[in-house]
Symmetry: C2
Subunit: 478 residues, 2 copies
């Protein structure tokens, strides 16, 4: 058997030593993404796209259940559309990329950074009556934001893939329920599918989406102590409805402005999965979003080769529902294969060797904790299901324990700064005022609040000293 | 019950009278697409996107079976990449849209019109050894071609959605088998899923993809006698491999250029479905690509209202596997609903009225031929399955009969011109030379060959009079 170093050189750095370099190596060596010739753009390779596709499949079922329909709106948006909603314009203008060709009226055309404006132009034509509501549309697409910050595959890139949902309601009450419903669906996706625990809540005014009344968010804490925004759900209220004249006749034939939200998550979730679960051997994919839940590696020796191959294929067929990789490549050693599939994060490895075969059993190795066990063939399907479920649960539990261990609080700006440095999410009383928050930010190495909530008990803003019921959870963030 | 004209005014033109205007009306009134504020761009509305999603779901399964993996490459491509393969550059340069921002080296960046160049830049890095082959990658994405021709929703737009597959092989033989395999998969998709019969074959040299050795195509004939290209599979040979230096070490450690193909179909297929199957009442969706295969309309009178509603819901549950629409809206009459769902092309309508209910039966109406029948409740699932299958088959058979009736041949350019005018696909002998074909094109109102093939029997080129074995199938085209 040949040994080759072709693709799997393994990681040369430990996750705990230098997470940033570790991340870069996992992304490259597990073939998740590659750099594009253009700065800030990335190639999403099949191993990562398969995760995205599983997320899409899951979420498309949720959309169906919620009677939200998929559609597709144009990539290019006329410049004038961005100017209609003032805050939105201010928020996105610096990041727009315009094309050189202009449209027939000579207007500049921007590549979409998000699609509120182009969609709501249509909504204003489609919505006439209360009978046209609710209107619930989602789109899966690419968006482009000409960021100047340092980019990082999945986490911050100029182009990314996402879903953006845009619902319209007749009443504010229905709208607010829906804003809440969507952020809860995101929490479920993150915790149940990606096995990533999150905190959920409202964004501070400083961190609210440009053009929204308020923004709901879910935030995960990465092992390096930085928070990552996993999805947001915005109450747009009537801001865009007024800017785009989205009006309907209610049951009394009276004209009303419509109530709107928008909500999205992106391929950034793949970055979260990598950082959250990976270890010194590479990626660990939670079973529920793994395209291949296991790999079967026959242990081949000349004498028993044919028998073992035959048996391995049988086992592969038995385990079809787990979409196994069957790795019978001759040009690589078993050890090389073990390393490769560990690097690529396949949840389970099943080894079929001649001795196991005699005993009508196989060896199962878990990716998450490396534990080995032998399992009788006749129990295989049930046992594999059980172990996969346990892996999914263990990954979540580990993350949850970590998250809880990192929740803290502070009474002064100095204490806040120290605890943020320790990689914590730190609860403080804060007046929900952008000016106050940005001043605090400057004093705590650039950390911002991740969520805010109203406490039952009044306290004093750590900066102004004024009484407030608002508590803010500060952390460094990606 | 209220009657409203809100959305379903019905078509004001017959398909046979003015197919172009009929098409525009179906697209708008069945809510398939809408015009964008920018010329040449369209909004794909949920009713059409659902068809696209079903096509995607079907084809993703095929991709899995063929071990082709999905990925995603950047939207923007450096100008220099287009210049590497000369024919490709010439073919696409006129249609490129560049953005105003340039990359770090100051190069212009174009929005992808197709992704050969950006993908093969990566391929040249990923492929080193014969063990890296075959490499088979597909992507679903938007592309942009700044067309100056008249645009039409789905059929010709500046932006469209598609899949583009890009496979790489170690040998020419494997490559050619794959070129063939992919075009056959497209034929199957068209005929079995979309119920649209096609002719399949090679493109003439004049119609070959820019940068390919040859192009295989499937072509359907629309009811107005114009052909529509439904999908293409290109043998790129080593043209791009040489331009992008995609080389591998073979089993003898000798360096070789790789062999490549690319293959794609687009949202244009939705346009084909509309044109091919629709009638004077609107759209007809083939059952296999219909998101909702049937609609249940309870016939409500005050006295029996509750009973009928209850029974209808029961029936809706029984028919869950067909993903029924349950239309119990109060604000529309039954007749209005019938018209709406006919316009929108739902394959079957099930009416549940008080009299039917007493007889433990329902009334089923087929969208394709309007035939009504009463079916006993206990036979419902089997009967619905059977009718849906029959609709799928009938749509195909009708198209196939039409296609066959329009196949003809000609011996002179004059005869060719006349028969093309009759909306036929006309077989002629022709020297496969772009100059010859373009000259013929000018004489036959702009028609080009759709496919060419080699005949066993030699004949004379209708233009040059020279002996040739090449026969070309001419038709007008979209």
């Amino acid at each position: 058997m040949t040994k080759s170093k072709q693709t799997n050189e393994g990681l040369t750095v430990k996750k705990s030593e230098d997470m940033s370099e570790w991340y870069t190596q996992v992304v490259q060596k597990a073939e998740l993404a590659d750099y594009s010739p253009i700065k800030g753009f990335m190639i999403i390779r099949p191993n990562a796209y398969a995760i995205w596709q599983n997320i899409q499949d899951y979420f498309n079922k949720i959309l169906d259940k919620l009677e939200i329909k998929n559609a597709y709106f144009p990539l290019l948006i006329p410049e004038s559309f961005f100017k209609k909603e003032a805050e939105h314009a201010e928020g996105f203008s610096p990041e727009l990329a315009y094309i050189q060709n202009s449209d027939e009226v000579g207007e500049r055309l921007a590549i979409r950074p998000t699609s509120e404006t182009i969609m709501y132009d249509s909504y204003s034509k489609w919505i006439r009556s209360h009978r046209d509501l609710p209107l619930k549309i989602n789109q899966w697409c690419n968006v482009l934001r000409w960021e100047v910050k340092q980019t990082k595959p999945f986490l911050r890139t100029r182009e990314f893939l996402w879903q953006e949902g845009h619902n319209v309601f007749a009443t504010e009450k229905e709208l607010e329920q829906d804003v809440d419903k969507m952020i809860k669906e995101y929490k479920k996706l993150s915790e149940e599918m990606l096995a990533i625990p999150v905190i959920m809540g409202r964004k501070s005014r400083a961190e609210t989406f440009a053009g929204a009344d308020y923004t709901m968010t879910i935030e995960a804490l990465m092992p390096d102590g930085k928070a990552l925004q996993m999805g947001t759900s915005h109450k747009l209220g009537q801001n865009f409805a007024k800017a785009f004249k989205i009006k309907f006749k209610d049951t009394d034939e009276k004209e009303q402005f419509a109530w709107q939200n928008s909500w999205g998550f992106s391929t950034r979730l793949i970055g979260a999965v990598i950082m959250m679960h990976g270890d010194d051997h590479g990626l660990i994919i939670p079973p529920k979003i793994a395209k291949n839940q296991l790999v079967i590696v026959p242990i081949l020796f000349d004498k028993t080769r044919d028998k073992v191959l035959k048996k391995s294929k049988e086992i592969s067929n038995t385990l079809k529902r787990f979409n196994p990789i069957f790795d019978d490549r001759d040009s690589y050693s078993a050890g090389w294969k073990f390393n490769e599939w560990e690097l690529k994060g396949i949840p389970l490895r099943i080894e079929v060797g001649p001795r196991d075969m005699e005993n009508k059993q196989v060896t199962i190795v878990r990716r998450d904790n490396g534990k080995k066990e032998t399992v009788k063939e006749k129990n295989l399907v049930a046992k594999v299901s059980e172990i996969l479920e346990d892996i999914q649960k263990s990954l979540f539990d580990k993350g949850n324990k970590f998250l809880k261990s990192r929740m803290d609080s502070a009474k002064t700006v100095k204490e806040l700064k120290e605890k943020i440095k320790e990689g914590k999410i730190v609860k403080v009383y804060m007046a929900d005022d952008p000016e106050v928050e940005l001043t605090i930010k400057d004093k705590v190495d650039g950390a911002m609040s991740r969520i805010v909530e109203l406490s039952n008990v009044e306290g004093k803003c750590i900066f102004t000293g004024e009484k407030t019921k608002t508590v803010a959870y500060f952390a460094k963030a990606y």
